[in-house]
């Protein structure tokens, strides 16, 4: 699964804000330059970013398998015509380019996920959204990372228990209800325990976070992010 792996690559060393700027700039540029030439340049940038993060492009493609069906279906469906020749390349052209640009955007964000630890992402979120809303989001993000595997296990256990009791013979709505009820029960119980623990530890709106600082490598990174946005602005004028 695509997740953070510690490492010593240039991309790991970048400030999370720089990586977010590159992703945002890349997305804006990809939407502005959805042409074969534009996408060729962006492919080089995306592969360079993924390569610098020491992430295998093929492995990343396998990770993205759940979005591939719709990306492939879009140009195929759009190209279909009623009557001869049944398929129009001209109609399928733009959706094909659009699907490809989504794939590139997902590649760049995969490099971010692979190289950025949760605490840095949290600090970046709270830098971007100051005050209590940012603090709430940052804390929520940390809780999601911590509790996701636990709750997935809860649901798997509920499902196995249901199967062991011939649950597969029950109607679909009933099965969904059983698994979701078990999940909800556990979530509320865990939320109560968590809120008690948070209050016991003086849960505050202003805790201490890791200090974010830009390094020398962030200069070209930020410049790339800005250049991509700039290219979109210039392209649209």
């Amino acid at each position: 699964m695509l997740k953070y792996e510690p490492g010593s690559t240039v991309v790991h060393a970048l400030d999370p804000r720089t990586k977010l700027a590159v992703q945002a700039g890349f997305a804006v540029a990809a939407f502005a330059h959805t042409t074969p030439r534009g996408l060729a340049v962006l492919t080089a940038i995306a592969l360079g970013f993924v390569g610098a993060a020491r992430l295998s492009p093929l492995g990343t493609l396998v990770e993205l398998r759940f979005v591939l069906p719709i990306l492939i279906a879009a140009p195929l469906l759009e190209g279909l015509t009623f009557g001869w020749p049944w398929f129009s390349l001209a109609q399928a052209r733009f959706p094909a380019l659009a699907s490809y640009r989504v794939l590139l955007i997902l590649f760049v964000s995969a490099a971010y996920v692979h190289t950025t630890p949760t605490r840095e992402s949290r600090a970046a979120v709270q830098w971007l959204i100051p005050g209590k809303p940012g603090q709430f989001l940052g804390m929520g993000v940390a809780v999601v990372f911590r509790f996701l595997p636990v709750i997935v296990d809860d649901l798997v256990r509920a499902r196995e228990a249901m199967h062991a009791r011939l649950g597969t013979e029950r109607p679909l709505a009933e099965r969904i209800r059983i698994v979701a009820t078990a999940g909800l029960r556990r979530v509320f119980a865990r939320a109560d325990a968590l809120s008690l623990a948070l209050r016991a530890r003086c849960f505050a709106w202003n805790p201490t976070l890791p200090r974010l600082s830009l390094g020398w490598w962030d200069v070209p990174g930020m410049a790339l992010g800005l250049a991509l946005v700039g290219s979109a602005v210039i392209g649209s004028v």
């Binding site: 469906l77 979120v125 202003n206």
Partner: protein
Amino acid sequence: MSADTHDVDLVGEEVVENVARAALFAALMGAFAYVSFPNPFSPAPVTLQVLGVFLAGIFLGPVWGGASLVVYLVAGAVGAPVFSGGAAGLGHLVGSNAGYLISWPVAAFVVGAIVHGGLTVGDPRAVGSVRLVGAMVLATALIYAFGIAGLMIVLGMGPVAAFTAGAAAFIPAEAFKIAAAVGIVRSDAFIAE
């Protein structure tokens, strides 16, 4: 950023509880992405995520339910594997599923606002079935409208192709989730506070 030890701003008691619930509910939404059931109507399996959107509105109310879904989106954007199929990354918020994802906080708010008749959270068991089902049907329509618009904008598809690929195969299964949500509310398993 300096270590702030002199001026601690504690989170209020009630807010702590709502924050913990909203955050854990966001994790549940992520866990729902890993659970799928075979769909009797189409080859696309049924995942429980839309059910999570309904339940967020019903049990957390419009404000905290919507906030919980925003936490879910931000967590997925910064790398928690919570999007469908265990995917993660900011790219998904501008990718082919962007419309669906962005609609979820709005849909949870709408379900909560209709079920509770405003911004304050009451007991969902006291709500009539027509109101409950109506809220979820409206939310489903909203989710698919956003989802189809997303496919049209991001992938450049026409409305017919977007509906065929992004909604036709999935909409019938939503009836099961609505039925399951009504069953959960009526089961007396939870007492909302």
